[in-house]
């Protein structure tokens, strides 16, 4: 089935089996191997990408559902010559060991900060009607869809804190 997806700013036309997940389209058809296949069931978050600016599990979405959408993968977040502040913060805080979950962690963190900036609530929000302060408890809860097998969680929180700034 013919599908056109704008990936990292570039329109890409593909002819896909309807079963192809967005993740497999990115990795196997567009050779963007940054997004990782961990569980392939939406439980680990390694496949997280931004679709129209919103973070989702690319393993649990069909590529054909995204005809006309804009997808940003870790390759579009930044590269060696132009690191995104979140990538820089992960390096500075040593927020990974094996690195397998890292692209998903970074895409998720970028999407999460946008959600928090729009004052979206989370399970950790004490007051649902006021302005939400992005405490460490909030960051932990909001990043709970990203698993790190190396358990670099304290450093991941520190990296996201570096980008988010101090709690107001």
């Amino acid at each position: 089935m013919k599908t056109t997806i704008t990936v990292n700013g570039q329109a890409r036309s593909l002819d896909l089996d309807t079963r192809t997940s967005l993740l497999d389209a990115l990795r196997e058809h567009l050779n963007l191997k940054g997004s990782k296949k961990g569980c392939d069931h939406g439980q680990c978050g390694a496949c997280t990408v931004l679709v129209n600016g919103v973070r989702i599990n690319s393993c649990l979405s069909l590529a054909v559902m995204h005809d006309g959408d804009e997808v940003t993968t870790i390759e579009g977040i930044g590269g060696e010559e132009n690191l995104h502040p979140m990538q820089q913060a992960f390096l500075v805080q040593d927020a990974f060991q094996c690195g397998y979950c890292t692209p998903g962690q970074i895409c998720s963190a970028v999407g999460m900060l946008k959600e928090a900036a729009q004052n979206w609530p989370s399970q950790a929000s004490e007051d649902l009607t006021g302005a939400i302060a992005l405490t460490d408890a909030e960051i932990r809860e909001r990043m709970s869809g990203n698993i790190c097998r190396c358990s670099a969680y304290p450093q991941i929180i520190a990296a996201i804190r570096d980008v988010a700034g101090d709690v107001a």
Binding site: H41, T48, V54, I56, S61, G111, P121, Q123, S144, G145
Partner: protein
């Protein structure tokens, strides 16, 4: 995953017609549950009708002072809506307690209601399951049934409905709007959407073949506090062992039955002037212990009493 054909209509009537016209067809909304089950070969649709781009993503005020929530509103947008947070905080509390941020960004209002049980035997095609293969037997009844139902189960099935959102909607007395295959519309209560398993646990809802949920309608919330409490095995991103939604003196339980469970005996006891603990026990007196899930009875009783106390103190009002 088995092969399937795919289409993406742009109006509701065409979508309903497409599913009704094609044997083995299913609606595809966020896909976070359906695609997962297709990968496991538990769901086997031959045709998918993608409803993501139907014009059902708005949240409107109703003339009665309530809200009409389009079926394609994502869980994230619904939980974040200022009107929902102000007037229906139990709904926001319930939604943000389920899934992860990524899942809530895809999951929809209609799809959340129609998600399927997380019973481990339903997910394991090597084991008998009357939902997957009617007549094959229930592996959970004498198996690892810690997560199973304590209300309304049958000899054929003791699975639970996993939604948090649906529990809040049940406590709120929400209504659904649907379109049937012939293009007609109807309304039914969220409480009447899901069925108890009986002898046909494979039939989970009272929707007709090809019937599409188009909206959820909330009346003005009753006076009083609103509280959603959920117990689970880890602090984040886990299904509930049990949950309780309290809206004023309206009470529903989650993860304890094949459907969100309206606690009518608890509500009746409250009306008769019973205290929180006594009212909680009024419903739990009818609960059934299947061997490994008996802990839910004491758990729900305590959570209910506590949620009632918090609501009476004005939390979430």
């Amino acid at each position: 995953m088995r092969p399937f054909t795919y289409e993406r209509p742009t109006d509701v009537a065409a979508a309903v017609k497409a599913v009704a016209a094609t044997p083995g067809a299913k609606f595809l909304a966020g896909g976070t549950n359906l695609l997962d089950l297709m990968k496991l070969d538990i769901e086997q649709p031959t045709h998918l009708v993608d409803v993501n781009r139907l014009p059902l993503s708005g949240i409107e005020d109703t003339p009665e002072g309530g809200l009409r929530i389009g079926a394609m509103v994502t869980n994230s947008h619904l939980a974040a809506d200022a009107r929902v947070r102000q007037r229906y905080s139990v709904l926001t509390q319930a939604i943000v307690s389920g899934g992860s941020g990524q899942l809530r960004n895809k999951a929809t209002t209609g799809g959340n209601l129609l998600q399927r049980t997380r019973c481990a035997y339903f997910y394991d095609p090597s084991k008998p399951c009357n939902k997957r293969h009617p007549g094959s037997g229930c592996s959970a009844i004498d198996g690892l049934n810690r997560n199973s139902a304590i209300f309304g189960a049958s000899d054929a099935c003791i699975a639970t409905h996993p939604s948090d959102m649906a529990v809040a909607l049940t406590a709120l007395g929400a209504q659904l709007e649907t379109m049937t295959a012939d293009g007609a519309t109807r309304t039914l209560a969220v409480a009447d959407l899901h069925r108890l398993p009986g002898d046909t646990p494979e039939i989970e809802t009272n929707l007709a073949s090809g019937e599409l949920i188009t909206a959820v309608v909330l009346s003005p919330a009753p006076a009083g506090g609103q509280v959603y409490r959920k117990a689970r095995d880890r602090a984040a991103y886990a299904g509930g062992l049990a949950s309780v939604a309290v809206v004023g003196q309206q009470v529903a339980f989650g993860a304890v039955a094949h459907k969100p469970w309206r606690a009518e005996r608890t509500e009746g006891a409250l009306k008769s002037g019973a205290g929180a603990v006594e009212a909680a026990h009024a419903e739990l007196a009818g609960a059934q212990d299947n061997g490994k899930n008996g802990f839910k009875i004491a758990l729900v009783a305590r959570m209910t009493a506590d949620a009632l106390r918090q609501a009476s103190e004005g939390r979430g009002a």
